[in-house]
Symmetry: C2
Amino acid sequence: MRYGNPSIAEGLESLRADGCTQISVISLYPQYSASTTASVNDEVFRCLLKMRWQPALRTAGPWHDHPSYIDALTKSVKKHISKLDWKPDYLIASFHGLPVAYFEKGDPYHCHCAKTARLLREKLGMSEDNFKLTFQSRFGPSKWLEPYTETTLRELGEAGYKNIAVITPGFISDCVETLEEIAIEARETFIEAGGENFTTVPCLNSSPESVKLLAQLAHAELAGWIA
Amino acid sequence: MRYGNPSIAEGLESLRADGCTQISVISLYPQYSASTTASVNDEVFRCLLKMRWQPALRTAGPWHDHPSYIDALTKSVKKHISKLDWKPDYLIASFHGLPVAYFEKGDPYHCHCAKTARLLREKLGMSEDNFKLTFQSRFGPSKWLEPYTETTLRELGEAGYKNIAVITPGFISDCVETLEEIAIEARETFIEAGGENFTTVPCLNSSPESVKLLAQLAHAELAGWIA
């Protein structure tokens, strides 16, 4: 894990100690940014720079538009909504934000998020009237990618929307940014602004669709290494 | 080039500027060492660490025992010797040396050189009686991998060997270490020690066998990236 345990360094050292001479690294961030995919790759590079006997390395590119990823997200929305006793009239796709300065320096993250959101919306058969891409987790005083998730939820509540669902496609697994920031804090914001029903679509986590997606990514990366 | 122009940094920046999102790096050092293959990879890692929008990366492992490499070396020996008006009674496979300290720290370079030499010898149908693996280009006061090429040539000359050929399998292209250190200096050593005929087998350079080998390495590395 980039910021958890076991660390990337521990994982690589362990594989190397087991005799692995070929290592494939697939970042679980679907959308590329200097602070997502590249942050993982950078840590891998720093680890390999210290190894006397380096493995051959493959780093995966972004997979924000992989058909199985879009398919898994679509199914997760449908499955979750089918279990509710109310029907959302608006879906928000909320991604972790970034300082606008990154975007202006050429970081493709915003474009990748926009493409993921568009493909998901199209696959769900929704229009832009009841679907919106937003950015959460702003930190510090600088300007981040907009629209902000919290601001959007407040505006929708104040505009009279009563039933909202939020999906967080940039997080492969549920974490504090989804379980607390969206499912608790964002819900409060929406309800306080006049909303009535709020639901958070779970991340892909260990769903069959998620496992299928990861297996496809791995097989593509291992081409030529395994039969 | 690791120590020439265009530099690795220039090559990577140029590919990136052309829009390449997937870059394969194949070190032209066949035998892995911290100072050969890893030195190339390290420089690639350092360059990518500075890139905001990194390409997906693949680094190739060593190819010291690739059948087409051994085949190309074998053919280069046979072709070169067929053009001589004398017949070598001894073949030396001379590789760039390394401090013994590297070997003792676990660097596989010595093993890779030994395997390349053995496979070449077997493919040529030669015995250990008239074939020897040696190491050249020692630099500085520390102990390097032995036997040293120069010492071996002196001993063979003094022992009465008259006709010797030297091949330098670790260098894909002829360079100062082959054209000067072997073809001029090592020749002088052998002749001064009593030898009569000395020849240097050219490196693979741009021979058809060399191009075929590099194409095979590239195709293997690009599996899944190109059809």
